[in-house]
Subunit: 310 residues, 2 copies
């Protein structure tokens, strides 16, 4: 029962990073090689911890501090191609939020909107037409191709939960489930037996688009109970800019008055006193985040009918 840990066969540790920034209301992710790869590199042994290794490596590359880092997932499911099959790759992926972007217009590395990879995830101007127009019709034959009635029912249910009906009942957190569904149905080029005519959305090499989906899903879930979007904003910003930023991440439009009510109720920001003089109309007041509240906001809501302890 207690097998003493022994060295495995040859193993390479690889770090993958989903680095997110925001510019002009677009959620950006750092990519390499013409947008086909996420930044990744070997884990250098001189670093005491994985996070410090990642942080050092990213900051050296981008010349900007990494505001927030969070581990995403560890995969160990593939072998290094070209090796004799015993060289296993363990890839540990991270989500990182950063405020500034690298040299603009660079070709490699390049910041790209994540909606280029997941066009069906952008519901900011209403339901993504891609879903009702293309995805649901393409998924229908896959549902019908289920082995038996039970399998078909299960597939149907998965489609409904992930994509809804294409017009309402959209859950923006299910980014990974949606990608995996399309993968299984062979509708993305990365699939094992891809359809000749995949669904729109740029693919990536290896499992990098899957890792990106994991990162987006994690971030979308996180902003609901922790104000991590702090790390993506400039030091001063208007409330409308903040709203647009959250909308860019969540992929959904928000109700302006309610958004302000919420931000206000949580005491997340304070006015700097200054205003913008952007365009024609009334200038917007500038705000900054109140760093102090970050700690307080560790509180989360519960969905269980708790009793007050006696």
């Amino acid at each position: 029962m207690t097998p003493p840990p022994a060295p495995s066969d040859a193993v390479a540790i690889e770090l993958n990073a989903v680095l997110v920034a925001l510019t002009a209301n677009q959620p950006l992710v750092l990519t390499l090689e013409d947008g086909t790869l996420l930044p990744s590199g070997p884990f250098a042994t001189e670093h005491p911890t994985l996070q410090s290794g990642l942080r050092a490596w990213v900051e050296r590359q981008t010349n900007h501090p990494l505001g927030y880092v969070e581990q995403l997932y560890t995969f160990a499911d593939r072998n290094r191609p070209g090796s004799d099959g015993r060289q296993r790759v363990v890839s540990i992926s991270y989500l990182g939020l950063t405020r500034e972007r690298l040299s603009a217009g660079a070709r490699d590395p390049e910041w790209r909107s994540w909606y280029r990879y997941f066009p069906w995830e952008d519901w900011r101007t209403g339901p993504a037409p891609l879903i009702a127009g293309t995805i649901l019709p393409r998924l229908a034959p896959w549902v019908d191709a289920g082995a038996d009635a039970g399998n078909r029912r299960e597939r149907q249910q998965r489609v409904e939960v992930s994509f809804g009906d294409g017009r309402e009942s959209w859950n923006e957190d299910l980014v990974l489930q949606r990608y995996e569904l399309l993968y299984e149905a062979g509708l993305v080029p990365e699939a094992k037996h891809p359809a000749a005519d995949p669904v729109p959305g740029m693919p990536m090499r290896h499992d990098h688009r899957r890792i990106l989906a994991t990162g987006i899903a994690r971030l979308r879930a996180k902003i609901k109970y922790r104000p991590v979007f702090f790390e993506l904003m400039p030091p001063e910003f208007t409330l409308l800019q903040l709203q647009r930023a959250v909308e860019a991440l969540a992929g959904r439009p928000m109700h302006k008055q309610n958004f302000r009510r919420l931000i206000d109720a949580q005491g997340l920001v304070e006015p700097t006193g200054a205003s913008t003089a952007e365009a024609r109309g009334r200038p917007a007041k500038l705000f900054r985040f109140r760093r102090e509240v970050v700690l307080e906001r560790a509180v989360v809501g519960s969905k269980l009918p708790l009793s007050r302890p006696i």
Copy 2:
């Protein structure tokens, strides 16, 4: 910018498991070596994925299927003792839920209540007296020993967020934060410079108590939006047994009527028709879970002021 992945120096992959079961309203965790270790073992290269490796290994040991598996965290922060310092250990930890327990009364492996390791986490019969009686008084000097006023304020805030005032405002999800706070304050034996007289609660070797805290925290958070406690219950159970099970995990008492209202509203269970004939009074009806709803229940609630997409 794109360093080609290369094999690291010698690396050993180790799997750690937090295996949870429930008996007699106690949340149990599988331990080894007189309760000082979590089950762990090397990652065998013949397994295609990490999860299948863990699953196979656990099921071989316990002769019971593993109902639910979830990755917890990957640590790579220590070196194998006795090696030349280049042999790095990457430990990947998992949470697993299982329905049945291994041979009862066995000494090793042994199922133990997790509240032996974290006695302050059990608020089922009211605030854990340990907190107001011992922990808060012992943390006070640590707060006062902060380097400067700002540091002291930050420490004070961390104590308040993690432990509340010891009587109310308890957030049961912050298991890991609380353990880490005690660790930093030197109040657990595992700390780097432990106090001569640590706080009650059984320690573990290496960082295993930390991993256990991570698992408990994850499970407590999860049951609020996904009915994973399915996997811990016998095939048939009464609603009161179910309530006691959830209370055991959450470490808090619940309001009976509201608990039933919630279970009912979600359509999680259906009556089997049978009843128990346990003790004196009215027998309780037996229920079973409706497996069908697991998929549907992927829906989560949002805390952002979303607008209905146009």
